[in-house]
């Protein structure tokens, strides 16, 4: 059933703060999926926050400090798998721009992969398995779609789930409203944007919404619960880890 083209490797899991504190089930699921494909997962306990919220708020000095810390913590690992696209985008794109002379940081940026990206581009997985309540809609997180340019890979991973029925949202390119410090500053606007997205999800008839970003996941969960929707929001790792 499972077939990997490349030999298994050791990876370090970059869980992200939101996954660690608010949705640890995502991290556990990612471990299951990776180990199922013969990858040894390590979790360096010294990791804290990559600095994403500070970056969004414009506190660049804080981000540089976190970047150096992050690069030190993950220095021993060849591959780093990140469970939230906004954080992966920061490490891959913004870290190098902030610290262009720091070799450790530049190398970290090259070795860090967003979860779906690692499965499709490094492991080159085709059959992964998984299960989700149908119909399944995929929500493109903005950083996943626009910064990392990953739209086909996650959809391909969903499409290989046995008996899956994929639907597209009519608001496919629209943000869910979570913007880190933006949500702190303008909770009302963030909630309204989330409500709009939730209505679009309801229109699609999806029973499961899948995303690769922990911020989107939590925000959509709140937005859907506010509307008493039965639709559940899952990280890609969760649906891939589930037994069919």
């Amino acid at each position: 059933m499972y077939w990997t083209k490349n030999p298994p490797r050791v990876v370090a899991l970059f869980a992200t703060c939101l996954v660690d504190a608010f949705c640890p089930e995502v991290g556990r699921a990612a471990v299951v999926v990776l180990e199922r494909h013969g990858v040894t997962v390590e979790f360096p306990l010294a990791q804290t926050c990559c600095g994403r919220p500070a970056y969004d708020a414009g506190f660049l000095r804080d981000v540089r400090r976190q970047a150096r810390h992050h690069a030190r913590v993950f220095a021993p690992y060849e591959y780093i798998v990140c469970l939230s696209s906004a954080c992966a985008a920061l490490v891959r794109q913004d870290y190098p721009a902030l610290l262009p002379d720091d070799e450790q940081v530049l190398s970290l940026a090259r070795r860090t992969f967003e979860f779906s990206q690692f499965l499709t581009e490094v492991l080159e997985l085709i059959g992964v398995g998984g299960a989700a309540a149908n119909p399944v809609a995929y929500h493109d997180a903005c950083h996943q779609m626009r910064t990392l340019g990953l739209t086909a890979g996650p959809r391909r991973l969903l499409a290989q789930i046995p008996d899956v029925n994929l639907v597209e949202l009519d608001s496919r390119e629209d943000c869910c409203g979570f913007g880190g410090p933006f949500t702190l500053e303008y909770p009302g606007v963030a909630a309204n944007i989330g409500g709009r997205k939730a209505r679009s999800i309801e229109r699609s008839g999806a029973a499961t919404v899948v995303t690769c970003d922990a911020g989107c996941l939590l925000h959509l969960r709140s937005a859907l619960s506010q509307r008493q929707s039965d639709c559940t929001v899952r990280h890609l790792a969760e649906v891939l880890a589930a037994d069919s």
């Binding site: 869980a15 996954v19 660690d20 504190a21 608010f22 949705c23 640890p24 089930e25 991290g27 556990r28 979790f43 306990l45 010294a46 990791q47 804290t48 926050c49 600095g51 919220p53 500070a54 969004d56 708020a57 414009g58 506190f59 660049l60 804080d62 976190q66 903005c142 626009r146 910064t147 390119e173 629209d174 943000c175 409203g177 979570f178 913007g179 880190g180 410090p181 933006f182 702190l184 500053e185 303008y186 909770p187 009302g188 606007v189 963030a190 909630a191 309204n192 944007i193 989330g194 409500g195 709009r196 939590l218 969960r221 709140s222 937005a223 619960s225 506010q226």
Partner: protein, 484 residues
Amino acid sequence: MKLSFSSSVARNRPVASFRRRVADALTDRYLQISLSRAANILNHARSASYADVPASEALRSQARSIREHTLARLADYLEQLEIQARGQGIHVYWAEEAADANRYIVELARKHGVFSVARGGESILRELDLDRVLREAALEIHPTTVGDFMLTLTNRPPGHLVFSSLQVRKEEISQSFPSKLDIPATLDIGSMTSTAAARIRANLIQADMAISGLTFAVAETGSLILAENQGNERLLSNLPRLHVLVMGLERVVPTLEDLLLLLQAQARSGRGQPFAAYTTLLNRVERPVQSATPDRSEVEETPREIHLVLLDNGRSRMLQQASGAVLTCIQCGACLNACPVYREIGGEAYGWTYMGPIGAVLAPLSLGIERAASLPGASTGCGACRQVCPVDLDLPSLLHDLRVRASQERRVSVRLRLARRLWRWSVQDNNRYQQATRILRWVLRPWARQGLVQSRLPLLRRWTATQPLPAPARQSFREWWKQR
């Protein structure tokens, strides 16, 4: 710091109270509906209009390079434009500040004994705060677009860069009909619009001076371009003997070929049209205006006068800065329609001439960051504005740069400063990080129901009022990992 944009605009609607206006907009149900309808229509129109363009990405990069090239050689092109325009009998005036342009316009009106003025709908005229200036000079003002006519009736500021009155309810407009137009109220939009159009025409024919905002001007030929959809600007370019055309310095275009491309990009992106319905190229001063003398004994000839006002108003200073690229913008309005934040709060909330993502960049750059520090933070960072921009302007980066500047100058909200303190303390090392996670859990868990915090906690009410907060998990991932 010198304020270069007309300071009275900011005085009337201070940008500092942005947060309050955002709150007002969120409770305006009608606004929400009209904004999302308009955005839907305009976004679909935009993508449909590019569907038949074989190489839309090539068009975009071409438009971008035209704009970048123009800004890099702006002084040369402006000089060329001036020579060309003067050669055709067009008067050229360089206005360093809004006040200079306004003074020039009012003096012209006085010199010609002007009584009534037809005023175009372009944003640059609002940037001048022209209506106030004309009113103070005791001049009668007549709007030239249906949208602006409705705004004048209801006394509201514009809600969009292109569709200025999209936020105004028909009921609100209708109520003003009996008192302001002496016409019975009606809710039929068709008849309201045709009434407005007829009134506008009747007023324009009477006007002795026209003031328009220029869409572009071509350096190569000295052509002045008015792109619009109602035909009234074209009418104005023929009717009154005095026509003032105001243009921001950045809107010069090197050649007619470049113009064709930019007009297309602007119309497709902002309105979903291949071109504006009326594109007027003004070239030389037309033949004299003929009119009968009062006793109809003979025909009087008065020469037409065209004045081109080139407005700087902070633009050349902006060009010196890293954010100068913002002037590649051609004000099509597409970024407004694509912005999730604009779509919730509308244009009035921004409290200034320019709104949406482009307004949130222009306001701090023009008014000074101390007056608009909160605007660049009103962004989810989604990047949709850049995706739809016909000149591929990197608005997300410009917004981010301004947030960085705001934080460096300590112009950050109290709640953000507090959040930063807590965050900085907790991410220093693993032990503190775990402690912080535990504290968060200890504070929030007791209020959690099914993984969500929905309580009316006094301190958190601001966040839980609109939507529940996620609750921290019973066991964090790292706690699970350590026990594994």
